[in-house]
Assembly symmetry: C2
Homo-oligomer: 433 residues x 2
Amino acid sequence: MSDFEPRTLRGFRDYLPDVMVPREAMLQKVASVFRSFGFQPIATPALEYTGVLLGKYGDEGDKLLYRFRDNGDRDVSLRYDLTVPLARVMAQHGGAIARPFKRFQIAPVWRAENPARGRFREFVQCDVDIVGSEGLLADFECIQVGAEVLRALGVDRFVIRINDRRILDGLMRHLGITEQGEQTDVLRVVDKLPKIGWDAMMAELRQKVTLPEHGEVALKTFLEGGLQALDGNVVDLSVAQPGIDSLNQLLAYAEALGIRRYLDVDLSIARGLDYYTSTIYETFLLDLPSLGSVMSGGRYDKLLGMFTGESIPAVGISLGVDRLLAGLTELGLVPPGVGAPDVFVVIVEAGETAYALGVAKQLRSAGLNVQTSLEPGAKMGKQFKLAARTGATAAVVIGSTEAATGNLTVKMLSTGEQKTLTAGEITAWVKPS
Amino acid sequence: MSDFEPRTLRGFRDYLPDVMVPREAMLQKVASVFRSFGFQPIATPALEYTGVLLGKYGDEGDKLLYRFRDNGDRDVSLRYDLTVPLARVMAQHGGAIARPFKRFQIAPVWRAENPARGRFREFVQCDVDIVGSEGLLADFECIQVGAEVLRALGVDRFVIRINDRRILDGLMRHLGITEQGEQTDVLRVVDKLPKIGWDAMMAELRQKVTLPEHGEVALKTFLEGGLQALDGNVVDLSVAQPGIDSLNQLLAYAEALGIRRYLDVDLSIARGLDYYTSTIYETFLLDLPSLGSVMSGGRYDKLLGMFTGESIPAVGISLGVDRLLAGLTELGLVPPGVGAPDVFVVIVEAGETAYALGVAKQLRSAGLNVQTSLEPGAKMGKQFKLAARTGATAAVVIGSTEAATGNLTVKMLSTGEQKTLTAGEITAWVKPS
């Protein structure tokens, strides 16, 4: 017997079946939508040379690496995300990978953060990306995939807020704010508008940066007028125009594909200025806005070439797996009995075990998930209690009469309704198609 | 641009789609068989307190741990297998887990071994276990699940060799070999019989241990006579009899369930004397015997209670994921085009992009996996080349005529055969059900 107290590390979790089953069901639906667009899965190692990862996430990110020396004294780290490993893959296997490379990866990543509500040191990322295509159709496909994923999960009330980095650049240029630190400050303050109101926002803004005379009006028009209001008095069009055209084209595609109603241009969203190069999006569940974005991404043309210097255009989305599952659960979109067996076979007489196993086999062949009692001959009450605890839809009771006649007693566990059926008839009653 | 040479660590691998797609397809089938028996998935953290893992794998195993101090100076290690974490789960969440607990876990483990052909430092384990049931039916269910997994993967020519630890104990007692080190030596030498012949084996055996006078005859009967020949002259029946009865009952169940032909009693298999307590099995593909065991396991009633001292009976099987996939591939049981899209949509005129995306959407709704060109209006030859490279079954060509009439040109990429069809007719031709 070990004298070590068995426990998980802080910030790490076990997923027992009650959480794991709906999670797997969700991820399977997600992967199936990805596949329907021709995306294919890849996997990369959990451990990488630290040199591959270091310097890619900024100082703050670097500090969060699980970094150590392995038995061969190599400096190694657990992966922090799935994007830098993708960049490594493109550099290492680039010649063998046809482009556009449409890949998805669903895998854990590790960050030595301070754990907090909803923030863990190990969590699953779900990324889908198109690598090697500059065309706007790739951006649209990512948005469309995102919308189809949510629809496949039963969500219809959601909004994908889209923006274009180049429009933000056009605004900054017009406001004369060229330094990235200042740009980030502006965006962070602007983000507070709904909470603190216009005057407080402007006051804070003026503390951070020096705005030109025309700045306040331009900013007001930018934030209130939307895409239609953008002109030379609001943004520097030499920078912003391609972004404006691009958003309009994305909306036109969405209109044609019947998903326009999910899209909303929001010029205030930014998401990592040092990362995205044009299209940006994030997604909110309309009935749970406080949940935060469940799916976000955009185009990042400068990142994947980090190892080779080669330009590798890329666009993608990332699903917040745990957040989305929490949302689906709260919205009642996770069926409660998911993962429970359809049938539990109660074996009343131990002598009929082989017959009972044969019935179970037959039911499985008909497509049912079937759990059989592992204590044949145990008291009926005990076996029924176990059947109920598994969450099974129905129990099939097998004793010598049933084995002799083939007429089986089937009981719906939720209602107590009972019928006598042959094995062949059970599926239709328990799991009507 | 990073100045670090992008490469994977030795003993670690990227799985690109050509490997990953058949692998995922295989694991999905495996999980689906597990579920059909009422097994449910769990997940545990990659990192554990070293104290949880240490001392469970013997000195050799402990040396293979990826062990380090995290940022909070905790002594942590990457998991080495999925069994010790399961023992921790039972100790930590035991009260919340109803027994029998039927769980499966498919996840990577890490071992700082010397990489060799087929041996990696990161590899996926696939374990299915029944925890908390002492009954032989649980042992049989694991064997049955194993057989059904292989059948679901298209394999019919395989043998599950079964044995019972208690029969080996009965032999050892009869031979007067009580020390575990000596027992291991005997089993290791006996294992060489097919290669070196009886006399050489006996000579080597006598160097290692002192056999009683009746030892050679007993051993010969044991190895050649099989289950039927076991009596008091061969094994100590007070120890071996429960094992003999147990194997006979397993064979009877298998007979009743129509899987007897896959089972073979092999009294020479041992698999970890300090681990298994009764039933033991390992599985070989008849057409690829040199591949080694693709699926093995048994009952291990003394291991899971390691943290609490509580007795937690358990029986399970473990699938050699990579080995099995290699075997399936060699046997031609992995369809070559697996994971490729059904249809690639070639967009001849950029103005018809929205129409083409609509067709793609319609085909997806009909159940097809559809990849669309991301370069609408690019030269036909280029788009067809890309279509062929994706491995798509068919290409659908869309230009202004197609958009105006709804009559689409569909070309089978393998044969070149071409038809003019409406979107509604395409599915039936490309993917007949």
